[in-house]
């Protein structure tokens, strides 16, 4: 589904990703863990196509397409979803309006019929329910006045409505209390655990992985994947710390 080969990327002329390779197959859940500054968020933004994240080498194939050749909205229409660590507030634009336009823009990009107002609201209500989010919150301006936890749950509602093939979730667990963490974890499972879908979780901590069991755990350090393992690797990292594991690899 996603094949990243020797990806190199700069932010403000500074190399951050230095030859990162990673393959994700349909039905798999991958977690990327690593210390601050390793390049985790840069990987998410680079795959999402954020301006200012300049690819200087390597390739990314997404479902047979050259991902790096696509504009951000084309990547979304192709089935990529980027969950933001810090969801952006858009005053004056309601979630309902924004998500309906986004969903229909994606459908248009794929040559599908747009959703009617009624169809969209039904879908939104269902996905909001999954994340235990009051439908009234989706009538409010995008993320404005939302708590950290509400913003993350709203990201998952968006993911549910947009129904992507691959979700890259950048620190979805940060800013969540214990209950919200469980609700988000269950939401990810409900929406994305399917034979034709995949998830890349970017996280500092093992706790989200208690709810969303990864098939593979990658350790990212200094712009490269330095170690790959199963769910037990995340537990080891939690116990021993990144430094010990990263150094052991270097040695």
């Amino acid at each position: 589904m996603l094949k990243i080969d020797n990806l190199q990327a700069n932010v403000a002329d500074k190399p951050i990703l230095k030859g990162l390779s990673l393959t994700i197959n349909p039905g798999e859940i991958h977690a990327i863990m690593g210390p601050n500054g390793a390049g985790k968020s840069t990987l998410g933004y680079t795959l999402g196509g954020r301006p200012g994240y300049e690819v200087t080498g390597g390739s990314v194939d997404f479902l047979g397409q050259d991902l790096l050749d696509l504009e951000p909205h084309e990547r979304a229409a192709a089935g990529l979803f980027l969950g933001f660590q810090y969801p952006v507030e858009i005053p004056g634009v309601s979630f309902v309006q924004f998500l309906r336009e986004a969903a229909n823009a994606q459908r248009k990009g794929r040559g599908e019929e747009p959703l009617s107002g009624g169809e969209f609201l039904k879908l939104a209500r269902e996905k909001a329910g999954l994340l235990r989010m009051d439908m009234d919150m989706l009538k409010r301006p995008v993320n404005v006045g939302f708590s950290g936890g509400e913003k993350k749950r709203a990201e998952m509602v968006q993911m549910g409505i947009l129904d992507p093939k691959l979700a890259i979730l950048d620190e979805t667990d940060s800013g969540l209390d214990i209950d919200a963490l469980r609700i988000c974890g269950e939401g990810i499972n409900a929406i994305m655990r399917a034979p034709d879908k995949a998830v890349l979780l970017i996280t500092h901590y093992q706790r989200l992985l208690d709810y969303v069991k990864p098939d593979f755990v990658h350790v990212l350090a200094a712009g490269r994947i330095v170690k790959i393992g199963g769910p037990d690797l995340a537990l080891r990292l939690e116990e021993e710390g990144y430094e010990a594991v990263v150094q052991e690899t270097a040695a």
């Binding site: 999402g48 196509g49 909205h73 979304a76 969801p87 858009i90 004056g92 336009e101 823009a105 301006p141």
Partner: protein
């Protein structure tokens, strides 16, 4: 504002950013007098969406406790000027919500002079301008509070969004106060669309023009909030936004 009989030049403060050549074609500007009697409550909606140059000058007089709600959408003219002089008696209330949307080499301007002549009158002007291409958008807003007009509450909120770095926004708020216990708040900002917000919207599948239009729609809506013809104004604004993005 005393209207000059001869075609003004750019040395005239109120015409400093005008397109004088275009102005010559519509000069002289007829004064449109509006009088709202004591206790009256009226509203007016002006939509200039034709391509031809247009210049209007409204002179509004509000009696005691009278209310007037004026909304302006200037979206289309190669040169569009809306000048409004308002005089408020005791307890009167005046609202102006104006949006200017321009592209190409269009020049749009709103020029207001709001005079508080009596006690406890309230006024507010909300002006939103979005400019693409080499267009110029101007708001000149003068608030005068006369001697004895104590308890005045006047506010101005002026924001312009430059969609291209080749566009120009001018804003000049002016306050002249000769009374006590006066509240006169004004805010003025010229900026660009938030790049983070645009990327966020595009990452969900909106094309760049759709993302910009959605953000600008919200920006402009502030000028039309609470207007009797809010829906119609918004629709006309969106149609123009789609054309200039």
């Amino acid at each position: 504002m005393s209207e000059v009989a001869a075609l003004p030049t750019r040395k005239h403060e109120d015409f400093r950013y005008s397109d004088i050549d275009a102005l010559a074609g519509v000069w002289p500007i007829a004064r449109e007098e509006i009088v709202v009697a004591d206790g009256g409550d009226e509203s007016l909606q002006i939509v200039e969406d034709g391509a031809a140059a247009v210049a209007r000058h409204l002179v509004i007089s509000l009696g005691k406790g009278a209310k007037f709600d004026l909304r302006v959408l200037s979206a289309g003219p190669v040169y569009g000027r809306i000048a409004v002089d308002v005089r408020l008696a005791e307890g009167a209330d005046f609202t102006l919500g104006a949006a200017q949307l321009a592209t190409g080499s269009e020049t749009l301007e709103v020029v207001t002079e709001v005079t508080h002549a009596g006690l406890n009158a309230t006024s507010s002007q909300i002006v939103r301008t979005a400019l693409a291409g080499h267009s110029v958008g101007t708001y000149l807003g003068r608030i005068a509070v006369e001697r004895g007009a104590d308890g005045t509450d006047a506010e101005q909120s002026v924001r312009a969004m430059l969609l291209d770095r080749t566009a120009t926004a001018n804003a000049r708020p002016e306050l002249e106060i000769y009374a006590d216990d006066v509240k006169a708040a004004h805010g003025c900002a010229v900026g660009e669309l938030d790049a983070n917000g645009l990327f966020y919207l595009m990452s969900r599948g909106l094309t760049p023009p759709e993302a910009k239009r959605l953000m600008l729609q919200a920006f402009i809506a502030e000028a039309f909030t609470g207007a009797p013809g809010e829906a119609e104004l918004s629709e006309a604004a969106i149609a123009r936004l789609e054309a200039i993005l």
